[in-house]
């Protein structure tokens, strides 16, 4: 029995190896079994789906090329997008950091006297800690993605990019809902749990004053959003409330709607392992379809705001070694295929927002704190994720780079200096005593041989 129960929030920011160890303990004790089962099913489905794509490799090349070009041309694309959104009758805002993004969204909500809002799953909104800020303004914030709904009830950070509650077994969800919602309704099957959440959330959708979504891609030529989902919660979030706010990092911008094409099948195959998920929306808000007065608030006109976020991305784009991370389309194939992730999930192998091997760079870039990439230690460099990545990111390469920077940032310990003196002929490198020992194992072995008679004597 562990002496004290750690909550996932406490170990979200992994600033030190000590916190990382506690996180690993938590993950192994309570989350590992569910993560193992769920990543396995993601993997089996992905193998099938990608094998069924007649041009899987060509799609990957095309997707990579689009992302590379878009990143080079980011300044022009952002400018073009802002013009398109304005031309469509929407409002465009470029937020340099999380604080600016939150403030803008809070101001829009205040102006509209928003009392309750519904949210589609958005990792970017997790990244800027949006919910807390809105709740402090007295707004009821309802996460409508069922996994996010679970996490909101549990007050936990996501443990996976597309299945944020991947660490929850059906049994643990039942126990959580019983405790949190104090209900006697039957909650002992997936159907019952889903029905319970659906009935609660349907009321919230129709009563909401605003909807907040992310975007899988955004097109600069006409301000279209690509939104991929299965539960229909994003479709409802976009259409039911009169006010729609979308939040996206600038790395999601591509030149035109035509560039959505390769990503549509590639994302579905890589993410959930389906030909397509139930709903892939291509929309250009504000929608033309009239607002139905579900709220009983009288007639309303639609309003749309697009918030495009930097928050460390520009610095990342200028970082020759790490900029590749910006090509990520958040499919999670790398997480599911990773041996360490399969055992730990993203609470062990991840930070406050982003998880897995790709998450270390994202966590460091969006927080501006290199030390929060400490969980990159869990990448063994085996490179099993590389062929799974739809945009061919060298994730182990990113982690090698992060670790080398992390090591440089920590002063050498006395033990490490001693070990270096004893074993290494090369110039002093930043590493722990343990790492130096194993890096120069052959020399250590020679010392060992030298002293063998001595140890035999004793």
């Amino acid at each position: 029995m562990p002496k004290q129960v750690t909550s996932p929030r406490e170990i979200a920011a992994k600033e030190s190896r000590a916190i990382l160890r506690r996180a690993i303990r938590l993950a192994l004790d309570t989350e590992s079994a569910a993560v193992r089962r769920n990543t396995r099913s993601f993997n089996l489905n992905r193998y099938r789906a990608t094998a069924a794509l007649p041009d899987y490799d060509a799609l990957k090349d095309e997707a990579r090329r689009i992302k590379e070009h878009a990143l080079v041309n980011r300044k022009a694309l952002i400018q073009r997008l802002s013009e398109s959104v304005t031309r469509n009758g929407g409002h465009f805002f470029f937020a340099r950091d999380a604080q600016e993004a939150r403030q803008y969204i809070q101001d829009v909500c205040k102006r509209h006297r928003v009392r309750s809002l519904v949210k589609g799953k958005s990792m970017t909104s997790e990244e800027i800690h949006l919910n807390g800020a809105l709740q402090r303004d007295g707004i009821r914030v309802v996460e409508t993605d069922l996994a996010e709904f679970i996490l909101q009830a549990a007050d936990e950070q996501p443990s996976h990019i597309i299945a944020p509650a991947i660490h929850y077994s059906r049994e643990r969800i039942t126990a959580l809902f019983r405790r949190k919602f104090q209900t006697d309704l039957p909650l002992d099957t997936g159907e019952n749990l889903t029905r319970f959440a659906r009935e609660r959330l349907r009321k919230d959708f129709l009563a909401a004053d605003a909807g907040i979504t992310g975007a899988n891609l955004v097109s600069a030529d006409c301000g279209s959003l690509l939104l991929v989902e299965s539960e229909a919660n994003i479709r409802l979030t976009c259409i039911a409330p009169p006010l729609h706010i979308a939040l996206s990092g600038f790395e999601k911008i591509v030149p035109s709607r035509r560039e959505f094409a390769p990503f549509i099948e590639l994302l579905a195959a890589s993410a959930t392992g389906q030909p397509l998920t139930s709903y892939t929306s291509v929309i250009r808000p504000p929608l033309a379809v009239p607002v139905v007065d579900f709220r009983g608030a009288g007639p309303a006109t639609r309003e749309f705001h697009l918030v495009i976020l930097d928050n460390g991305r520009e610095a990342l784009a200028q970082d020759a070694q790490l900029k590749e991370a910006l090509y990520c389309i958040r499919c999670s194939a790398c997480l599911n295929s990773c041996a360490n992730f399969q055992v730990l999930g993203g609470h062990g192998f991840g930070g406050a927002t982003y998880s897995g091997g790709i998450g270390a760079t994202w966590e460091a870039a969006t927080t501006g704190q290199l030390k929060l990439a400490r969980f990159s230690d869990l990448c063994t460099g085996c490179s099993r994720c590389v062929p799974q990545c739809p945009v061919r990111i060298d994730i182990p390469g990113l982690n090698v780079e992060l670790r080398s920077r992390l090591n440089q940032s920590v002063p050498l310990s006395l033990a490490a200096r001693a070990m270096h003196l004893l074993l290494s002929a090369s110039p002093l490198e930043h590493a722990s005593a343990q790492q130096i020992f194993f890096a120069h194992y052959d020399r250590a072995a020679r010392w060992g041989t030298l002293f063998a008679p001595l140890s035999n004597f004793f």
Binding site: G190, L236, S256, A261, V282, I283, L287
Partner: protein
């Protein structure tokens, strides 16, 4: 999915058979198909003309057209701002979608390759619908979450 003859009466009969006793039925006015296809259906009892908020909340069946269908992914493409299709394809338990076989393409990318797609006004707001709403977040796969629990495609040919 079923194949239906290209006649308004055949569409009416197929929809009524599928909806069985469920009423009311909501219909979105088609933008690409001839409006004639839904005309006989509109005069049936329990088919609503101008639904209000309460009707949207309770109607169990919605009928829309699709402007395209995608063979490889089993998808239909619905313009959500064609009349009230955005709601009709989303809120009811059963979504029946009617698409002409001439509108069939093989892959999603085939639609984006069309010359017209570069025009900003061409299908401003649409959705590839590839099944009923579904989730695996509660453990096993569950069909029927916030959108339709059932998707039925009628292919006119």
């Amino acid at each position: 999915m079923e194949l239906v003859a290209r006649s308004p009466e055949a569409v009416r009969d197929a929809v009524l058979a599928r909806a069985s006793a469920k009423r009311p039925i909501l219909i979105a006015e088609p933008r690409y198909l001839s409006p004639d296809y839904f005309r006989p259906l509109r005069s049936e009892e329990g088919v609503l003309r101008n639904p209000n908020a309460a009707d949207y909340r309770s109607a169990p069946v919605g009928v829309t057209e699709a402007f395209a269908a995608v063979a490889r992914t089993g998808s239909v493409c619905v313009d959500i701002d064609a009349d009230i299709a955005g709601y009709v394809s989303l809120l009811p338990h059963l979504h029946i979608v009617v698409v002409d076989i001439d509108r069939l393409v093989f892959r999603p990318a085939d639609l984006f390759r069309l010359e017209q797609f570069a025009r900003p006004t061409y299908h401003r707001n649409f959705v590839f619908i590839s099944g009923p709403s579904a989730t695996a977040d509660m453990g096993p796969l569950v069909r029927g979450v916030h959108g339709p629990h059932e998707l039925h495609i009628m292919v006119l040919c």
